[in-house]
């Protein structure tokens, strides 16, 4: 029998993975697996007692925790859907021949780069029911604005609106990149065939910006499901717990010292994100091949 041939020399050393692998493995992968175990325990960081699925039972029976779960889904779907629609409309507008296009692109995109906490505090003040600028403007138009953040009916959606305000610039940018990459021959052909603006949009721009749509949906869903900073800056989950999301529940339970329950919240969030995002991205990407 022949000894196996000596390995061919490669300049691409596996050692290059090592530093990344250590940091990523120790600080991300290990905690992720550890969370699966600790979510089944009552935990004080120093000792943990195995209690089976108690934390999860609590998570789905306590009304305020259940509310956090449903709010997370609502928040993610509302913000993601709005960013798709508004982002596409804005991108079509901002690739058309309008005056001050550069200014408009900049102004729509800039909030993406601004501190979320700063934006949250600013809009908390603007949404003040009595003195805020928004209700002031509405009353000038003869509309009696609600307590955006103080009324349980509106609190979550108000925060979602601010999230859309801050994030739509990124969706727009992604759509602009998609629209600009459409080969101009297609558009010329449509023009020669006498297609209207709407038909051009419906038959050419919309289907060909599908990769951009997939990116926007996936990115904004992941961001929306994990959203914490804006909600914490604006309502702290209130009034009561009506605008709590899973991420804010995780923080509240962590502060209260319920580490096992907090970690269970993390596991629920992990499962929710993967259960929604993975099948969706598989489905969206597969249909693209069919086209």
């Amino acid at each position: 029998m022949r000894a196996s041939a000596p390995k061919a020399y490669t300049p691409y050393s596996n050692w290059f993975y090592l530093p990344s692998a250590i940091i990523y493995g120790v600080l991300f992968i290990v905690p992720t697996f550890a969370s699966l175990y600790f979510s089944l325990t009552r935990w004080s960081l120093f000792e943990s007692k195995f209690i089976g699925l108690e934390n999860f039972k609590l998570f789905f029976s306590e009304p305020q925790l259940v509310k956090g779960f449903t709010n997370t889904l609502i928040f993610a779907v509302v913000t993601s859907g709005s960013k798709v629609v508004l982002g596409l409309l804005l991108a079509v507008l901002l690739t058309s021949q309008i005056v001050a296009r550069g200014y408009l692109r900049s102004v729509v995109f800039f909030p993406v780069l601004v501190s979320t906490i700063g934006v949250g505090i600013t809009f908390t003040v603007l949404m003040n029911p009595d003195h805020g600028l928004i209700n002031g403007g509405l009353s000038a138009l003869g509309i009696d604005g609600p307590g955006w953040l103080t009324d349980p009916k509106y609190a979550l959606l108000s925060v979602a609106a601010v999230d859309i305000w801050k994030g739509v610039g990124l969706a727009t940018l992604i759509y602009i990149a998609g629209i600009v990459s459409i080969p101009r021959e297609y558009l010329e052909a449509a023009r020669v065939d006498g297609a209207s603006s709407w038909e051009t949009f419906r038959r050419i721009v919309l289907p060909l910006s599908r990769p951009a749509t997939v990116t926007v949906i996936i990115l904004s869903l992941i961001g929306g499901l994990r959203s914490f900073e804006l909600i914490w800056a604006m309502t702290r989950g209130g009034p009561g717990f009506t605008s709590d999301v899973i991420a804010s529940v995780i923080y509240k339970q962590y502060q209260a010292g319920f580490y096992g329950l907090s970690t269970a919240g993390n596991v629920v969030l992990f499962i929710a994100v993967t259960a929604i995002v993975l099948p969706l991205s598989y489905f969206l990407n597969r249909k693209e091949v069919d086209l």
């Binding site: 691409y12 120790v26 021949q97 601004v114 501190s115 305000w165 992604i174 990459s181 951009a212 914490w232």
Partner: protein
């Protein structure tokens, strides 16, 4: 004729639509920022009325000095902390992710699928908070700056690896072969030949990630609590309750921490756009 014109058919510009767009953009986007600036330079009483009005007296310098001095120069310490955090973690991300992205793109092995899976997991899976604290505590890194730097690197690696991997694919392999024949070892090949060629994507990664780390609130909140360690985002959070009657100082603080991203935006707009839309065309 531009692509845009072909989409819209109309020759020339649409002035009515432009006017509407500009007015709406002012109401929706400019007014909130103008509100921040105006409130930041008002005196305390006028700021408390929360309205959109011209300041009676411009207190730019006084408010600036007051907010900087607040709580024993906490904002200054916070800016130093944030700078250290941003520079160290972004530098770490760039070097580590470039190395990993390079080998991942160049070397085909049966591990590639698994590594790609890990990279994508990092983008999707929300980090488990308390178990991460538990691990940090085991290493004595909880509530320390090095601990937070490593955390930011760990959570940012995935995005960077994807960008580097895509860019390395555009560098011809012949270059590697030539360098290897000339006697360059793996380290020399990477740091001497490849790394300098990555310059444009490095700029993109640096700009995008430094804005992200500088603006990060959640990770410092969890992993580096305590006033002495505050980063700029946490000062805002701390001042929010303390300055509930001093909106002028709160908004001066918001204004100050908006300046670094604004500078990035003014100078590196193109790189930011490139980084953030990198997934758009291929999907």
């Amino acid at each position: 004729m531009s692509t845009a014109e072909l989409v819209n058919h109309k020759p020339g510009r649409n002035y009515l639509l432009s006017a509407v767009a500009i007015v709406v953009s002012i109401v929706v986007f400019i007014i909130p920022f103008a509100f921040i600036v105006l409130t930041a330079v008002k005196d305390r009483q006028q700021a408390a009325s929360l309205d959109f009005s011209w300041p009676h007296q411009l207190r730019i310098v006084q408010n600036f000095v007051e907010v900087v001095k607040a709580r024993d120069y906490m904002l200054v310490i916070a800016f130093i902390n944030s700078t250290i955090l941003t520079v160290a973690s972004v530098a770490g991300m760039v070097v580590l992710a470039a190395m990993a992205g390079f080998v991942l793109q160049r070397r085909k092995s049966r591990w590639n699928g698994f590594i790609n899976f890990l990279v994508l997991s990092g983008l999707i899976i929300p980090p488990a908070v308390v178990p991460t604290i538990w691990v940090l505590q085991k290493f004595g890194l909880f509530k320390t700056m090095p601990g937070l730097i490593l955390i930011e690197i760990a959570f940012g690696l995935s995005f960077c690896v994807l960008l580097f991997r895509a860019f390395v694919a555009t560098i011809p392999r012949e270059l590697d072969e030539a360098a290897t024949i000339d006697g360059a070892g793996p380290l020399r090949l990477f740091f001497g030949v490849i790394f300098p060629l990555l310059r444009s994507v490095i700029v993109t990664v640096v700009v995008v990630q430094s804005v992200a780390v500088f603006n990060d609130f959640t990770n410092p909140l969890y992993f580096l609590p305590g006033d002495q360690n505050a980063t700029v985002q946490l000062t805002l959070y701390n001042f929010q309750s303390q300055f509930s009657t001093q909106y002028n100082l709160l908004f001066m603080n918001i204004l100050l921490i908006t300046i670094p991203p604004l500078i990035m935006f003014l100078f590196f707009n193109r790189q930011i756009v490139a980084g953030m839309t990198s997934g758009a065309i291929k999907g």
